[in-house]
C-alpha cells in the first residue's frame, strides 16, 4: 500500500498536508495521533471512500478491505445474513462457504443466527471486521478497531489481527491509544494536524522522543509522546 503527498481539504481547513508512506505485505502499521489529526481521513482515502485533493494512493495488488470505526452492518439482520449479503454483493461464487469461513475465523459460528442488534459491542465489531475480511483482502484498513471493547475482547481482536498480518496481510490501523500502538504496531505513523511527524518503529519513536524532549524521556511512553508532539508545535 502506498500513499504519496496526500492532501485533503475541507473548505479552508487542510485535514491532510502531503502525507506519504508505504506498507509492505505482513506489516502491521499503527496510525497514531490526537483527535483531529487526520487518521480517519487518511484511512478513508486509502479505502477509496474519499478522494484526495492532491497526491496518489494505491495498492500494488489484491483488494483493500475496510473496517470503519462504527460498525457498518445491518442491526436487524442476523450475523450470518449480514455476511451472506456482503458476500453476495461482492460476487462470491459460494457466498454460504465464504460466510461460514468468516464465522469460523472470527469465532462467531455459535452466534450466526443472532440478530446483530442483540450482540455486545465487541461482537458487533467482530462481525464488522468479518465483513471487511470477506474478500480476503491483501490490505486490511481498521479505523480505531478496539474502541468500546473490554480488555478480553481487545486481546482476542489483536490476536486475530496479528494472525492475519502473520499470514501476509498488510494491516493498517488507526488508534489514539499509544500503548496499543506500541504493543501491536510493527510500525508507527504519527499524524498531528494533518501533518506526518514520524514514520518508524516504536523503538525509533522512543529514540526520537529522547532527542526532541530529553526531560520527558524517562517518563512513561504516553507522557513522553505528548511532550514530543508539544515540542513539534502541536
Amino acid at each position: 500500500m502506498r500513499a504519496t503527498g496526500v492532501v485533503k481539504r475541507f473548505g479552508e481547513r487542510e485535514a491532510l498536508r502531503g502525507v506519504s508512506f508505504e506498507a509492505g505485505p505482513g506489516e502491521l502499521v499503527a496510525i497514531i495521533g490526537p483527535n483531529g489529526a487526520g487518521k480517519t481521513t487518511l484511512l478513508s482515502i486509502l479505502a477509496g471512500i474519499a478522494s484526495p485533493d492532491e497526491g496518489e494512493v494505491g495498492a500494488a495488488s489484491g483488494t483493500v478491505g475496510w473496517v470503519p470505526q462504527q460498525a457498518a452492518l445491518y442491526r436487524r439482520l442476523t450475523v450470518e445474513e449480514n455476511l451472506l449479503l456482503f458476500a453476495r454483493l461482492e460476487g462470491h461464487r459460494d457466498p454460504h462457504a465464504s460466510a461460514a469461513e468468516m464465522l469460523e475465523l472470527t469465532g462467531l459460528r455459535e452466534r450466526r443466527g443472532e440478530i446483530v442488534a442483540r450482540l455486545s459491542g465487541g461482537n458487533q465489531q467482530r462481525v464488522n471486521i468479518a465483513i471487511g475480511l470477506l474478500s480476503r483482502p491483501a490490505v486490511l484498513l481498521l479505523d480505531e478497531p478496539s474502541v468500546g471493547l473490554d480488555p478480553r475482547q481487545r486481546a482476542r481482536l489483536w490476536e486475530f489481527v496479528s494472525g492475519l498480518a502473520g499470514g501476509g496481510t498488510t494491516v493498517i490501523f488507526s488508534t489514539h491509544d499509544i500503548q496499543e500502538a506500541e504493543r501491536y504496531g510493527g510500525r508507527m505513523l504519527v499524524l498531528a494536524d494533518g501533518e506526518s511527524l514520524f514514520d518508524g518503529s516504536a523503538e525509533e519513536l522512543r529514540e526520537a522522543v529522547r532527542r526532541e524532549a530529553p526531560e520527558q524521556a524517562d517518563r512513561d511512553f504516553e507522557t513522553a509522546f505528548v511532550a514530543y508532539l508539544h515540542h513539534r508545535g502541536h
Binding site: 480517519t40 481521513t41 478513508s44 479505502a47 477509496g48 471512500i49 474519499a50 475496510w66 470503519p68 462504527q70 460498525a71 457498518a72 452492518l73 445491518y74 442491526r75 436487524r76 439482520l77 445474513e81 449479503l85 456482503f86 453476495r88 454483493l89 461482492e90 460476487g91 440478530i115 465483513i131
Partner: protein
C-alpha cells in the same frame, strides 16, 4: 443489477423483522379501506328532529275565501328528516337538551291563521319555532342548514299552491266557469264570453249607443289578453329563478369513485414516501452507505433499489386496498391494466420524492417527521376545490401541489378507476416529469451521504 436484487431482498427481510412497520403497512390500508367503504356504502343518516304540530286539525290555508287543498307540509318534512312526534313543548325541550334529537320543530296553533292573514289588510307574520342545542358549532351549523332548507322548501310548496289557486281564479275571470261558495255553485261568465255576447248584441243597439258598447267590448278583449299573460307570471312568482346547470369543464367521476381514489392515493403516498425515505436514511444510520458504495453498488443503483422497494410494496398494498374496496363499491376490474399503470407510475414518482427527502434529511427520525410534514399538508391542499378559497390563494395552492406527486397521482388513479373523469395521459406525463426532477435532486443530495 445483481447488487440491487440482494439489497432489495435485504430491505424486505428488515421490513419483515420490524413487526410494527409490517403491521402498519398491512393494517393501515385495510383500516382505511373498511372505513371509506362503510362511509360510502351506508350514506348519511337522516338527522332526528322532534316534530310538534299544534295547528288544530282540519285547519286549511284559505285564499280569497276558498280553502286550498292539503299541502302535506308535515309529510314532506318527515321525508327529509327522521321525525320524532312529541306531545308538548316541554318534551321538545327535554329531547333537544338531552341530545336525543338534533332539533325540535314546532308549528304553533296560529300558524295557518297567520298565513291566511297574508291576503287581508292586516297581515300577520307566520312563524315556526325551532329549538336547538348549540353545544357544538358543527352540529349547530348542520341544524341551521337542514332546517333552513326544509322551511324554504315548505314556503315554496305553499307559494306554489297559492299561485295555482290564483291562476285558477284568473282562468275563471278570463274563460268563465263556476266555483263553489258556501255549498252553492256560482256561474262566472268570463271576459271571453262577455266580449262575444257584447259583439253579438251590438248590431241591435241604436247607432248612438254603439260606440260606448264597442269601448266596453274592446276593454273585455284587452283585459282577457292581458290576464292570459298574467297567469304564467303568477306561476313563476313562487320560484322566479330556476337553476339551469351546465357543465363547462372539470367533468368528474362519481363521488364514491373519487373517495376510493383519495383513500388509495393517500395510502400509496404515505407507504411509498415513508418507506423509501426511511430505508435510504437507514443505510446512513447503519453506516452501511460508504461500505456499499465502495464498488459494491453504485449510488444510482442504491437509489433505484429504494424506489423499486417503494413501488413493489406500494403496489401490493394499494392493490389489496382497492380489492378490499370492491366489497363495498362496484369497481370495474376490466380496467385493472390502467390501475396497475397508474399505481406504478405514481409510486415511482412518490418514491423519487421519498428518496430526495431521505437523502436530504439523512436520519430516520428526521426523515419520518419530514415525510409526514410534507405529505399530509400537500394531500389536504390537493383536495381543495376551485372556488373554495380566493383566486390568488387557489393559484398558489395549484402551483404548490403541482410540485409534489400527490395531486397528479390522485388524478391518474381516479382516471384509472373510472372513465368519466379526465384522461390518464396528462397526469402520467406530469408524474414522469416529477420522477425525473426528484431523482435528480436525490442523486445530488446523496453526495452529502459520503461526507466523512
Amino acid at each position: 443489477m445483481r447488487g440491487v436484487r440482494w439489497l432489495l431482498l435485504k430491505d424486505l427481510q428488515i421490513l419483515r423483522r420490524s413487526p410494527l412497520q409490517a403491521v402498519l403497512l398491512v393494517a393501515y390500508p385495510i383500516l382505511i379501506a373498511v372505513l371509506v367503504g362503510f362511509a360510502i356504502s351506508r350514506g348519511p343518516e337522516d338527522p332526528r328532529v322532534a316534530f310538534l304540530n299544534e295547528v288544530p286539525p282540519n285547519t286549511r290555508i284559505n285564499v280569497g275565501g276558498a280553502e286550498l287543498p292539503k299541502s302535506n307540509v308535515k309529510e314532506q318534512i318527515c321525508k327529509r328528516v327522521e321525525c320524532v312526534f312529541i306531545d308538548d313543548r316541554d318534551e321538545a325541550e327535554a329531547k333537544v337538551e338531552s341530545g336525543d334529537v338534533l332539533a325540535a320543530l314546532i308549528l304553533p296553533a296560529d300558524l295557518v291563521n297567520k298565513i291566511n292573514s297574508l291576503s287581508t289588510l292586516a297581515p300577520g307574520v307566520p312563524e315556526v319555532e325551532v329549538l336547538v342545542n348549540e353545544e357544538n358549532a358543527v352540529k349547530a351549523e348542520l341544524v341551521d342548514d337542514r332546517l333552513t332548507t326544509l322551511l324554504a322548501e315548505a314556503n315554496l310548496r305553499i307559494a306554489r299552491r297559492i299561485g295555482n289557486e290564483g291562476g285558477r281564479y284568473l282562468g275563471l275571470i278570463v274563460n268563465g266557469g263556476s266555483f263553489e261558495l258556501l255549498g252553492e255553485s256560482i256561474p262566472i261568465l268570463g271576459l271571453r264570453t262577455s266580449a262575444r255576447i257584447l259583439k253579438a248584441v251590438a248590431p241591435a243597439l241604436p247607432p248612438r249607443l254603439r260606440p260606448s258598447l264597442e269601448q266596453v267590448t274592446e276593454f273585455a278583449l284587452q283585459a282577457r289578453e292581458n290576464l292570459d299573460v298574467a297567469k304564467p307570471l303568477i306561476d313563476r312568482l313562487a320560484q322566479p329563478v330556476k337553476i339551469d346547470k351546465v357543465v363547462v369543464g372539470g367533468e368528474s367521476p362519481p363521488l364514491e369513485i373519487f373517495a376510493i381514489a383519495v383513500a388509495a392515493t393517500l395510502t400509496l403516498a404515505f407507504v411509498v414516501v415513508l418507506l423509501v425515505a426511511g430505508s435510504l436514511a437507514l443505510e446512513r444510520e447503519e453506516n452501511a452507505f460508504p461500505r456499499l458504495t465502495r464498488g459494491l453498488v453504485s449510488e444510482t443503483g442504491l437509489l433505484g433499489e429504494k424506489v423499486l422497494l417503494g413501488v413493489a410494496v406500494g403496489l401490493v398494498v394499494t392493490l389489496l386496498m382497492l380489492l378490499g374496496m370492491k366489497a363495498f363499491v362496484p369497481l370495474d376490474l376490466g380496467r385493472i391494466g390502467l390501475w396497475l399503470l397508474a399505481i406504478l407510475v405514481a409510486a415511482a414518482a412518490l418514491g423519487a420524492a421519498g428518496a430526495a427527502l431521505g437523502a436530504a434529511a439523512r436520519e430516520v427520525r428526521a426523515v419520518s417527521l419530514l415525510a409526514f410534514m410534507v405529505t399530509l399538508p400537500i394531500a389536504f391542499l390537493s383536495l381543495v376545490p376551485s372556488g373554495a378559497v380566493g383566486a390568488e390563494v387557489f393559484d398558489a395552492i395549484r402551483y404548490v401541489t403541482a410540485l409534489f406527486p400527490f395531486k397528479p397521482a390522485l388524478e391518474a388513479i381516479t382516471a384509472a378507476l373510472d372513465e368519466s373523469g379526465q384522461g390518464i395521459g396528462g397526469p402520467l406525463l406530469h408524474l414522469a416529469v416529477l420522477f425525473a426532477a426528484y431523482a435528480t435532486i436525490a442523486r445530488v443530495a446523496l453526495r452529502r451521504f459520503a461526507a466523512v
